[in-house]
Symmetry: C2
Subunit: 442 residues, 2 copies
């Protein structure tokens, strides 16, 4: 695979691969048999939906449960699974199945996609990824099935259980209920099953593999320590803030029991990592709550996972750098390890490029759509973070607006730095260094 | 001076010094003779005004021209001059006047305040700062005086010219007209004089000194090159965007002639650097325009200047780092010079701490004030950047809201990193380094 493309860099191949999947999905969703409307879906909506599914975002311009046939829904489900597992994992799986050898070039590509730094063990990791995915999705689907049997027929319960387990583990946020999980606000079974799928899907496969294999907690990698620490902090801060902010909001959780409030706040703090399901109506949240959700969506999930955003580790590196500067440390240190300069520069670049993308798209959409600022800002960050939460403006977007959000979802999934790398001409650095000169900052 | 405080760090002394000036100002403004209202100003409003003046912000809760007597206005003008020049410059001036020697400890303090890295030549710099300030303010005041004579009596024209020249050069944004410069929207004299004062005040004294002294452009320092480049980019991008965005907005520049539109757009692109004057009503700007102004206010002016924000050089370092990462350079280079890692870490820390401060305050105010999101976000960034632009909500803020904005203005003026340094316990790094370990980001 890709063996004829000797001139392309891994970053470029990745961008092209995702584009190919999205275009295929768009064509499939435009087949009249995919939709319940006569004449089939228009191209902008099909492209939007295919991108949203492949980039595991979950923003929708047409209702997944009523506008699509089972065929259309299966296309969406497969796009989600391809997008969530990553194109390279899927290609590797195909190669396994047809017994092909994995070349070094292909390994480099997988490395770029899963964001790994060691080439050895990558094939084993991919195999592991597939097993882990199907086991976790299986357990999730089973729990959902047992609960859904109460409300649905046997086959429908199976179908819904599988669809939503895949959608949750891959942090896709697509649903067949028509109103996400708002019908299950206080349902402890559905909530905990989905939360469990979202969190595990958002930790990243490298972390999952390590948590499963390692017995000695002292030997845990720096990566896993940072991912777990930051994820926990984000969930706890979100949970407490959301409970306090929305406690008396009658449009969201104001009329619920304390237990249901707790469950809703927990769900709301987990879903920006970057699942996109909601159990309380997003459009009714207070401005301050929406703003905090925006911040959490921007940070997103952990690297090498099914989720989007700038990633928990990127956020962690920023915090660690700030802390080291404040406490006057010479090295940037955490957990008795030193971070390399390049990691910090990369974290900074990802954050700044992401901020620039989000600001630019928000500005353009505010002008083109003539909508209020906060819902547009929310929608843009949701698209960038491949989250899929919306205050409800998605289907009211103009064709131009839908294209802008489509591009933002794509940029968010591929990652702004990878995208920039795909287009940039990389100059070899010479052996010389320029002299250093200080400047003032701040 | 300060010779009894051997235990304080320069950062701590700076914070304490600004606090002392603000408290003195608050007390002076509470004297009944300072205001036209009977009984004097309440403490929250006095604290707010004194902080706004000392931090050269320009946000006001009471009208400067009608609520204050000439005595009150002179207090504000002196607080602006102290705040703009920097506490240490003022103290040094006092020391000059009384013929005192400047100790090494005091030099270190001046260094912290003016953000310099060389200790030698600091006293000369301070002397230079004073001369430059009074010469530029004098020229600005003269131009303003000649124009204001058309509308005001001789003495009032002199008074208004001096007040507004000081307010403009120090990027304070206080005015005595009651509606900022909205009465002079198309006035080319007033606009160009104020723009000239704002830009020169925002470049930073080190840059001004170099521009004045250096004849050979090739020997220009990296600092000056970055400041000029970024300032120009920000003004040009702002100018073009604002002209396009507001061209047909009848509430702002829609009904003006093309020349007046150009002048308004130019003024709007210069004032976030961080003057805070406005010639068109800020509250009537479109959402997209407000968002771009927020971004420009956050970036702010150049270091060692009278302006606030994270500073143009900080923004420049971020851009340079991103560009170096994208183009695959090993060193972070610009203008044939290499940036030291510590500069990049510092730029990153300032940016992240500032973002965190702005997000936190915006969230708190959105909850406490029950106002729309965008005006609150705008007000918070305006306070942090010591800009002083407002959509008009300042005087509607609760006492709690006023205190929050007061704290934000102070944190913005001192700088969040300096503030953090003042509170943090700095541990000496040992001679050992921890082993390096990679993690994934993005
Ligand atoms: K999602
Ligand atoms: K100002």
């Amino acid at each position: 695979m890709f063996s004829n493309n000797h001139d392309y860099t891994p970053a470029q191949l990745l961008v092209l691969g995702y584009l190919a999947v999205i275009i295929t999905g768009t064509i499939l969703l435009m087949i009249p048999a995919a939709t319940t409307q006569s004449g089939g879906l228009d191209i902008i909506s099909a492209l939007f939906t295919a991108t949203s599914a492949t980039c595991v975002t979950g923003l929708i311009v047409v209702n997944t449960s009523t506008a699509f046939t089972v065929f259309g829904q299966l296309v969406i489900m497969i796009l989600i699974q391809i997008g969530g597992l990553g194109l390279m994992t899927m290609s590797t799986m195909v190669a396994f199945i047809i017994g092909k050898k994995i070349s070094l070039k292909e390994r480099l590509l997988i490395q770029e996609d899963l964001n790994q730094f060691k080439i050895s063990g990558l094939v084993a990791l991919v195999r592991y990824v597939l097993i882990v995915t199907f086991v976790i999705e299986g357990i999730g689907a089973l729990i959902l099935f047992l609960r859904l049997l109460k409300d649905y027929s046997f086959w429908k319960a199976i179908y819904y259980a599988i669809f939503h387990a895949i959608s949750a583990f891959n942090n896709a946020g697509f649903d067949l209920f028509g109103n996400s999980l708002e019908g299950f606000t206080g349902d402890i079974f559905i909530n905990l099953a989905v939360i469990f799928l979202i969190i595990l899907g958002g930790l990243g496969f490298a972390v999952l593999a390590e948590l499963y294999n390692k017995r000695d907690i002292k030997k845990t990698s720096l990566q896993t320590k940072i991912v777990i620490t930051i994820s926990l902090i984000l969930i706890i801060v979100g949970f407490i803030s959301f409970l306090a902010l929305e406690y008396n909001n009658e449009l969201t959780m104001g009329n619920l029991s304390f237990g249901e409030k707790t469950l809703s706040a927990l769900f709301l703090s987990v879903t920006p990592r970057t699942a996109g399901f909601n159990t309380i109506p997003t459009g009714s949240l207070k401005s301050s709550t929406l703003f905090l959700v925006i911040v959490l969506m921007f940070i997103g999930a952990s690297p090498g996972s099914t989720g989007g955003g700038i990633k928990t580790t990127t956020f962690g590196v920023l915090l660690i750098t700030v802390w080291s500067m404040i406490t006057g440390k010479r090295d940037i240190e955490i957990f008795k390890r030193q971070l390399e300069n390049e990691i910090i520069f990369k974290a900074l670049s990802i954050t700044i490029l992401s901020l620039m993308l989000v600001v630019l798209v928000t500005m353009i959409l505010t002008v083109s759509e003539g909508m209020d600022f906060l819902p547009v800002f929310f929608e843009t960050v949701s698209a960038f973070g491949t989250v899929g939460l919306s205050t409800g403006i998605t289907s009211a977007l103009s064709s131009f607006g839908r294209l802008m959000i489509t591009i933002t979802m794509f940029a968010g999934r591929v990652g702004p730095l990878t995208l920039a790398l795909a287009f940039a001409e990389r100059k070899r650095s010479g052996v010389y260094h320029y002299p250093k000169e200080k400047i003032m900052v701040g």
